[in-house]
Assembly symmetry: C2
Homo-oligomer: 147 residues x 2
DNA sequence: ACTAATGTTTAGCATAGGCTAACTTATATG
DNA sequence: CATATAAGTTAGCCTATGCTAAACATTAGT
């Protein structure tokens, strides 16, 4: 056995994991934005960029710039100085994200993690959870419902 | 109750979560590098930038550039055309990371996630797990050891 | 209807993290 | 020991994501 593979995971498999993480990172901003836009529309009828900026904790101009990318990606539509809307794809992404988020957060609660921590950690974890892991979390949840 | 807070989490709390995620992201590359450098030193006596590049799945030049940052941050030392070493802080960070990584990966295995998926997902999840959540995972693990 | 306040956009900058191509240094082999 | 190959470095480019300051549009209040 070569000393390189002593730890079990081949270099190729490891690099694959890191590549996935990097891909997840570029996808996750889009996910956060559309989820939040969907929430705002549900809560107050429309999403404006100031609200997004406040809730995401970034500057207004950052939101504007990001929305441009999301528009190019076909997730969002907007006209100058008007509210922001989601496309069909955008809604789908938002709903998938919200569902995933809820499972992860409830899972952490069921595990015994304090509520505030669960909320914060789930925000970061959500985007790195594969279908398999999500299923395992859901299974656990159905046996140990969060209180 | 204002319509804004209908969903429970205040805007401030949410934006705090996103800020934490962004902070985690900038910290996590450093973590991956030092962990991998530590592994390489343990496995084969020294860490070279080609190995890092291969295992991380990035180009050589990217590793060089990143190592410069890590050197500035006092995690790594190196001389031109020579192997890479960790400082005391670097070792500490590598060990903390490895410990965390192991708990997360074993936790996923114990949850019933397939081994390959557990390896990949744990790489992404690890950096977003707070002390509270890690403790909850460890507790679960001690009751449901991975097979 | 006008103006003040609010909200949106643009412009310009910075940093992190990728890449390729060209160059330099180290090493291993004939 | 001379040189071919391997390894490391530099330069220059790109995109994503953040920021501030200034310009512009909309809305509300008198």
């Amino acid at each position: 056995m070569s000393p390189i593979s002593k730890k079990g995971a081949s270099a190729k498999l490891r690099s694959q994991a890191f590549k996935r993480v990097r891909a997840d990172h570029s996808a996750e901003l889009a996910g956060d934005y559309v989820e939040m836009i969907a929430d705002l529309i549900d809560d107050r009828g429309e999403a404006r960029c100031t609200d997004l900026a406040m809730r995401l904790g970034v500057a207004n101009a950052t939101v504007v710039k990001t929305l441009k990318r999301l528009t190019d990606q076909g997730l969002v539509t907007q006209e100058p100085y008007r509210a922001i809307f989601l496309t069909g794809d955008g809604w789908k992404m938002a709903e998938d994200g919200k569902r995933k988020h809820q499972i992860v957060e409830n899972f952490l609660l069921a595990l015994g993690v304090p509520a505030d921590t669960a909320r914060i950690d789930s925000e970061g974890i959500e985007h790195h959870v594969s279908a398999d892991t999500l299923k395992a979390m859901a299974r656990f949840l159905s046996r140990n419902p969060a209180n």
